[in-house]
């Protein structure tokens, strides 16, 4: 979909390490028992409901389908696919990203509401992989959008992607969500 004209571009991408240092004052706040326990509950909710975008670029898309399929069943962890980026928390970059496609993926990423996560699935999305030799392939999706979890494999088998999701869930659970909200005020 081309929805260039109505995108609210958010310049500030998550810069993970800097944030923690800058807002150390809020960290003390977050040590508060109430905050931490509330954070825990909220994060548990968020982590167990990571809806991913129905979107695959190449070979890994087939494994992504099969991960959603009966054998691996991502739905067990509360992950279902949604066709539109507006309702997604997670975009799984499944496969090769060409230079022509890169800007489209950035648009898709921009269309997703915060908080949003990115899993880079497979060698091609990680760093260009075997198409490193070509001229038209982006060497790593992290050149365009920030990546949270890298899943190795070419393509990763469904269990490997499931593990990637679990690793991401762990990351979501350890985030300090309420404090982040404070920051924007």
């Amino acid at each position: 979909m081309e929805k260039r004209d109505h995108i609210e571009t958010r310049e500030e991408y998550r810069t993970k390490e800097n944030e923690v240092q800058e807002w150390s004052a809020y960290q003390k706040l977050s040590d508060n028992v109430l905050f931490t326990s509330l954070d825990k509950i909220l994060n548990l909710g968020r982590a167990n409901s990571l809806w991913y975008l129905l979107f695959g670029t190449a070979c890994c898309a087939i494994e992504l389908m099969q991960t959603g399929g009966p054998r691996a069943d991502l739905d067990r962890f509360g992950s279902v696919f949604r066709p539109t980026p507006r309702q997604c928390d997670l975009i799984i970059i499944a496969g090769t990203v060409t230079l022509k496609m890169a800007s489209r993926i950035k648009i898709l990423y921009d269309q997703m509401p915060e908080p949003k996560y990115v899993i880079s699935m497979g060698s091609c999305a990680n760093c260009g992989g075997l198409f490193d030799l070509g001229y038209s392939v982006l060497r790593g999706i992290d050149k365009v959008i920030p990546v949270d979890v890298y899943v190795p494999g070419c393509p990763p088998r469904p269990e490997a992607l499931t593990e990637g999701l679990l690793v991401l869930q762990q990351k979501v659970k350890n985030e300090k969500f309420l404090v982040k909200e404070k920051k924007s005020i």
């Binding site: 067990r76 760093c127 979890v149 890298y150 190795p152 494999g153 070419c154």
Partner: protein, 159 residues
Amino acid sequence: MREDIIQYFRNIKYAVTSVPKGMMVTLKNMFREPTTIQYPDRIPQKIEDTLPLNYRGHLEVEKEICTGCLLCEKFCPIDCIRIDVHKEETGRVLHSFKIDMAKCMYCGLCVPPCPTDAIRFTRKFEGSTYDIKSLLFEFIDTPTPVYKPNRDKDKKEEA
């Protein structure tokens, strides 16, 4: 006209009969055991152990038997293997053996040429990480002299 009317009722009949048929199939499936393998925790056996022996998972290098012949590096079309061999007084010494698992395409072109099976596939497939740099596998921690298969064979014969 008459055919149209017949068609009209045939359509109704077909819709009424075919829809329940499909519904019976889904109902049957509902009472079958789900085929889901509940990775990672609710399974009787680790997935790794259920995979066939020739599964192409992550690569592994046994540094003790690496001859430093660089064949695997040569056969890899995308240069994801980097071997560092130095010539020292005692002979050739392996200083580093890096495999970039983030870039590797798991094609298996590097494994057959190896004369000693030092580089081989494991059945590991898990390796999700927050940091792509951790997918650069280094197999040599301390400089290791390369393995010389011929001399070893001679020794065996003597014994």
